[in-house]
Amino acid sequence: MKDILFTRLLLWKKKRYSMLFWLILPAVGTYLFITTVSTIQDDSKIPIGVVIEDDSILADQLLKSIQNSPLVHAMTLSEEIAISELEKHELDSVFVIHEGYEKAILDGKRNDVISSYRTDLSLAYSPVKEMIVSLVQEESGRSKAAHFIQNMAAKYGSETTWSWDEINKKSKEVQVDENLLNTAFTYSEIELVSEEPSIFTWSTWEIWAILSLLSTLFLTDWVIRERQMSVAIRYSFFKFSQMNLYVKLLLLYLVLFLLFDLLSIGIFVIFMNETISISFLFELVSFRIMLCLLSFSIAQCFRKVGSYYSFTFMLTLILGIISGAVIPIQGIVPEQGIVTLLNPIHAFINGEITILWNVISIVLVILYLVRKETTNIA
């Protein structure tokens, strides 16, 4: 193995830049893609200013609800700055949550708890206002119910007492459950993946999987290059049999890829708040082994690198599309069936260990190596 490593390092050194490019492409490409997309999505949101005068839990909750909305990009500002930004048309509109907001809501009063500023150019004012009003209604309805329950409990001397927070939480849970039920009813065959259906969500590891497929295929072009080169004739006069040589080379490339997968994990954990579980590591390693073996088998089918590269691009594009990683079209391709079965990256994207395609790839590689060993001719 030392000899194989030594000789490979000699060759890798000469093309270190292109190798490095392909090796870090999955990590860096995914990072750039996801951050760019989320910036663009933020840019397409309506900028509004929120002024908070009331220092209370309810006011804070309302602010969070507004910030989580896919429609707006909300910034908290002082009233003065907010108005000057509004005059410069940096903000579409400004909403002020007045002091006493929480008290008013708890008392069931909904009037004059929030006021707003707008200009002639506040084009999105109406829908934003509607949205905020409905959020306030939701909050006040919930707190009213909570108070009602608490009062009843007090009145009839129930043994269990609920805090306002508990009731509030429970009510939210009920709300989420009902939402899911409604959705399941409306689109009975579509799995709901996003709570904001109007806005695409790209998953980091899906993009990574597609880019890894591309980079692994590209980095396996040595199989074709070396077979075409006149040095290939000398491979018959090595101390390793061809089978031995290729198994070792495959292992070496696998280790190299896994090292850079670690880099990907590092980048995603540190910069993109991804969390990694032990079971995910198994999924990743099985996916990576499959990629190496499959790329090797595919490269064996080509005589020219040019046609191999074209095929590589097409394959990546097609698998990207049917997996829903490049264009999020979950629901168009049926979740079960022949298409998913034929898709080697499906298992990884769906959080499973890649088994079927590892078996297929291993069989292909063994068939190739045994054939090479038996003919044993350059």
Binding site: D3, F6, M229, S236, F237, F238, K239, N376, I377
Partner: protein
């Protein structure tokens, strides 16, 4: 002793070599001559075990080329007609690369001496910056790394300057005579063939080379 017995080689329907028989003794240098396309390279590929004859047998010290291929390969050094070296590596790196994977290990010093014996004095130069003749010298040096008993060289000296040619020639001669190696090589240079070879094998129908060489008094086998 290398024994070639009724060897035939067909590509599809086309017969390239027909019923070829001869033996090569240790310490002997054999020249293969014949017009372009006569089948010289084809014969060398068969002897190098990287192609199989369509009929007949080849044995080396009673080891069968068919059954003991892997053992036989350790004794074979093959210099292909096309230069088989890494263009992007330096001379030193090329030597190191093939030494690491070779049947025999050699020190860096020994590797360098091998190049010097081939009259190749560049060492840290990338191969793509070398002249055609220098590449040929490296092509031979790499094949010699594992001290093969049977040396098969396919037009090794094309484009090599006369002085180096003579030096490589005398090196090959010393290898054959002092270390009892068998050397089979092809060339279109009749002066070289006359000077170096113990016997000459004329491949193909054309007897042009045979007549040319007969005047020099060489033993010529015509097949």
């Amino acid at each position: 002793m290398l024994k070639i017995d009724s060897v035939t080689k067909n590509y599809d329907k086309k017969c390239v070599l027909q019923d070829l028989s001869f033996t090569v003794r240790t310490g002997e240098i054999i020249g293969l001559v014949g017009e372009n396309g006569a089948g010289k390279s084809t014969l060398l590929r068969l002897l190098a075990t990287i192609d199989k004859p369509s009929g007949g047998t080849i044995t080396l010290h009673h080891l069968s080329f068919d059954k003991d291929r892997n053992t036989i390969r350790k004794s074979i050094g093959y210099v292909p007609q096309d230069i088989a070296i890494w263009e992007e590596l330096t001379v030193k790196e090329n030597m190191q690369f093939f030494e690491r994977l070779s049947f025999k290990s050699k020190s860096l010093n020994e590797l360098r001496n091998l190049c010097v014996e081939m009259n190749l004095h560049k060492w840290d130069e990338p191969v793509k910056a070398l002249s055609g003749g220098m590449k040929r010298k490296l092509n031979i040096a790499i094949t010699l790394i594992h001290d093969p008993e049977v040396l098969l060289l396919d037009e090794p000296t094309v484009g090599i300057d006369l002085k180096s040619k003579k030096e490589i020639g005398s090196y090959l001669r010393s290898q054959a005579k002092e270390k009892n190696r068998m050397i089979i090589y092809t060339s279109h240079d009749m002066d070289e063939i006359k000077e170096l070879c113990d016997r000459v094998i004329n491949i193909g129908e054309d007897k042009f080379y045979q007549e040319l060489l007969q005047k020099s008094g060489k033993e010529i086998i015509s097949i």
